[in-house]
């Protein structure tokens, strides 16, 4: 199945002289989890806001579920779920009150409202906290509540803007289980994140940088792409000190900290010799430069390193 749920054609947004989103085009197919990756300020949220019909595009066009977002924003709003960045809630309202409120906004009243509220509270795991004020919820539960609020009216299309920012790893995993479950039921999901490990859950990925999509594809194709380069792992007590000198080398595409080790990506194998020489010179004894499978982080860091718009990217 490949019916198109979202179609963007040269979608552009300018704020004064600043081009936040620069003529990007993409398609999202029904049932996909479409990951939108990029550093802060790269244009992710601006794109999502245009697709939700709350920010007018300065150029190009976009359709969501067959409705033009600029001409018919209200038709779009009726059919989508949106979880904004920061997932704002009212601290002085309880979990159940939030859900009833959003159900009411989407014209669910009476028995239908109660049924929807009960169902989603159960499914998202909020039933035990139904009478708790949102202001006292731990971070992970706040995100779940924001998600539930966006789901009450069963939208076929869901926009999630950094749904897991600032949440602990366990809650993040649980949250992604929910997202994957929704996609399995046929909901199309566009999700932004800058946790690159989360991107592995997506069917399709797009990297946005400086308002332009600089790479796209499934996680697997992105990692095995010929221009993904060769990544090696360097273990050294001097890790942090080596980061900047490495980044400055002409043949190093990217260098980033990865846990306690360094991941260094070069364009091809022949450059490993030069890298070895450099490392030995800087006191790393007999470095093991066996290429490793690059993580998405390495791929992205590499892409940003070669992008014409790049000014450097550290994850």
């Amino acid at each position: 199945m490949s019916t198109t749920t979202v179609r963007a054609e040269r979608l552009t947004r300018r704020f004064g002289d600043f081009v936040a989103v620069d003529a990007i085009s993409f398609e999202i197919h029904a049932g996909e989890i479409w990951g939108f990756l990029g550093p802060n300020g790269s244009g992710k949220s601006t794109t999502i806001r245009m697709l939700c019909g709350v920010l007018e595009p300065s150029g190009g066009r976009a359709e969501v579920l067959g409705y033009d977002v600029a001409r018919d924003p209200e038709a779009v709003k009726l059919r989508i779920g949106y979880m904004s960045q920061g997932s704002a809630l009212w601290n002085d309202l309880t979990v159940a009150e939030h859900l009833r409120f959003f159900a009411g906004l989407f014209d669910l009243y009476g028995a239908a409202q109660s049924a929807a509220v009960t169902e989603w509270m159960e499914r998202i795991g909020l039933t035990e906290r139904r009478n708790q004020l949102a202001g006292t919820l731990p971070g992970g539960f706040r995100k779940r509540l924001a998600l539930a609020c966006a789901l009450l009216h069963r939208p076929p299309m869901l926009f999630l803007d950094e749904p897991t920012a600032g949440v602990d790893p366990v809650s993040r995993r649980e949250f992604w289980d929910l997202i994957v479950g929704l996609a399995d039921e046929g909901t199309t999901i566009m999700v932004t994140t800058h946790y690159l490990d989360e991107a592995e859950h997506c069917n399709q990925l797009a990297f946005i940088y400086g308002g332009r999509i600089i790479a796209r594809g499934s996680p697997r194709t992105l990692k095995s792409a010929p221009d993904a380069g060769v990544t090696v792992e360097v273990l050294s007590p001097e890790n942090v000190g080596l980061l900047d000198p490495l980044d400055g080398l002409p043949f190093v595409r990217s260098a980033s900290l990865y846990g306690s080790s360094l991941h260094v990506t070069v364009t091809d194998r022949t450059q490993l010799v030069a890298l070895r020489a450099f490392l030995t010179e800087h006191g790393v004894a007999a470095p093991d430069l066996t290429p490793i499978a690059p993580s998405l982080e390495d791929v992205f860091a590499g892409l940003v390193g070669t992008s014409p718009a790049a000014g450097g990217y550290a994850s």
Binding site: R49, C52, G53, V54, L55, E56, P73, E74, K77, L78, I80, Y82, S84, G86, A88, L89, W90, D92, L93, E97, F101, F102, G104, L105, F106, D107, Y109, C149
Partner: protein
């Protein structure tokens, strides 16, 4: 048209208001405190503390001082022993008036001459000073008249009652109590303040919290959102007005002379207009602090232009035109008309009509400005 969505918003707002205990208490008490303060502070310039230096110390001088006391405008608080004490008391503000009676006061009266009595008033506050001075003059002439008639009678003359009898009548407020005029005005002033202040935070607070984004992505329409947020504020306003009217009646003895039902209907129109003003500011401001500053720009001139202090009829034409943009102007006429004069719809319909038009225009502007966008 979806009134259920309006109600959904209203329920949320009611909940949030009630949960915020401190705001509830402040919102209920503040108008009452203001009415009490204005009610007292506006009372006439009576019982002005007065310092007296009586060099005569005779029955005649005591009679004069008694006349000052009886007028109720002067309260003799200190007997000075020299001019220095008189000046000192007035300079440091412990007295607002000084009376100096010369040593030959009684002697001159008996010699059928005219003694001079000095009355000095602190005229920093010109209005109060004007009243005190004319009262002092009146005391002088009235005592003089009495003495002359007594003198003529003693000489055996027949004194007729020739003169002009001006029968002055004070309508609507026969006792000339200042609070009768002030309290209804304060009701209007305080409610304009409360309503604009409560509504000014409605949109901008959601914007600051980030929840506005969630609201504009929902199918809710701007007018539904704004009306929903107004409904609880109108309820609060009615509670306030009722408390103020009870306070006026039982504390200041200012009853509603006219139709209370008509008053409550016009109060609704006034609320709608002032809430619209606050909401409009709320849609324009980017932050709450900005909204507070913008609302001050509206509230301060509106108090001066409305006729609360200076009558609109006495203003230059340009300011009169500006005053028609202030909802308080109309409501002051309406509320004073109903509470003090007891007049009905037949005298007030034009004011009510204009206030309604202003309210609808303001609300429409707020709705159009909002546009459900976040840029």
């Amino acid at each position: 048209m979806n009134w259920k969505r309006v109600w959904t918003i209203a329920v949320k707002e009611y909940r949030q208001f009630i949960r915020d205990r401190r705001t509830v208490v402040a919102t209920m008490l503040m108008p009452l405190i203001q009415v009490v303060l204005y009610g007292y502070l506006s009372s006439d310039v009576r019982y002005q503390p007065t310092v007296v230096w009586d060099l005569s110390r005779t029955a005649e001088s005591r009679q004069l001082l008694q006349a000052f006391t009886n007028s109720q405008y002067f309260a003799i608080t200190f007997q000075a022993r020299n001019m220095h004490e008189v000046v000192e008391r007035i300079e440091d503000g412990r007295a607002l008036a000084g009376v100096v009676i010369p040593p030959d006061y009684a002697t001159l009266i008996h010699e059928k001459k005219t003694p001079q009595v000095m009355v000095a008033v602190d005229a920093s506050d010109a209005t109060a000073a004007r009243t005190s001075l004319s009262v002092a003059q009146a005391i002088g002439s009235s005592l003089t008249n009495k003495m002359r008639i007594k003198e003529l009678r003693m000489q055996g003359a027949h004194v007729s009652a020739v003169g002009i009898d001006v029968r002055a009548r004070a309508w609507y407020n026969p006792a000339l109590r200042q609070e009768v005029f002030i309290v209804p005005g304060v009701l209007a002033l305080v409610m304009q303040f409360t309503m604009t202040f409560l509504s000014m935070s409605t949109i901008v607070r959601e914007r600051e919290l980030g929840t506005l984004e969630q609201l504009v992505v929902s199918p809710i329409q701007p007018w539904e959102l704004m009306l929903g947020k107004m409904i609880p504020l109108i309820t609060i306003g009615y509670v306030n007005v009722t408390l103020i009217l009870l306070l006026a009646l039982f504390w200041f003895h200012v009853p509603v002379a006219g139709n209370v039902f008509l008053l409550y209907v016009t109060v609704f129109v006034f609320f709608f207009t002032t809430l619209g003003m606050g909401t409009l500011v709320s849609t324009i401001a980017k932050t709450y602090i900005q909204a507070v500053q913008m609302i001050q720009l509206f509230l301060m001139p509106s108090m001066l232009l409305s006729g609360f202090i200076f009558p609109v009829a006495a203003m230059p034409p340009v300011l009169q035109w500006l005053s028609y943009l202030v909802p308080l102007t109309y409501f002051l006429t309406i509320v004073r008309g109903i509470i003090i004069k007891g007049v009905g719809f037949e005298y007030l319909w034009w004011q009510i009509f204009l206030l309604t038009v202003l309210g609808l225009a303001v609300f429409a502007t707020a709705v159009l400005r909002f546009r459900k966008r976040i840029d």
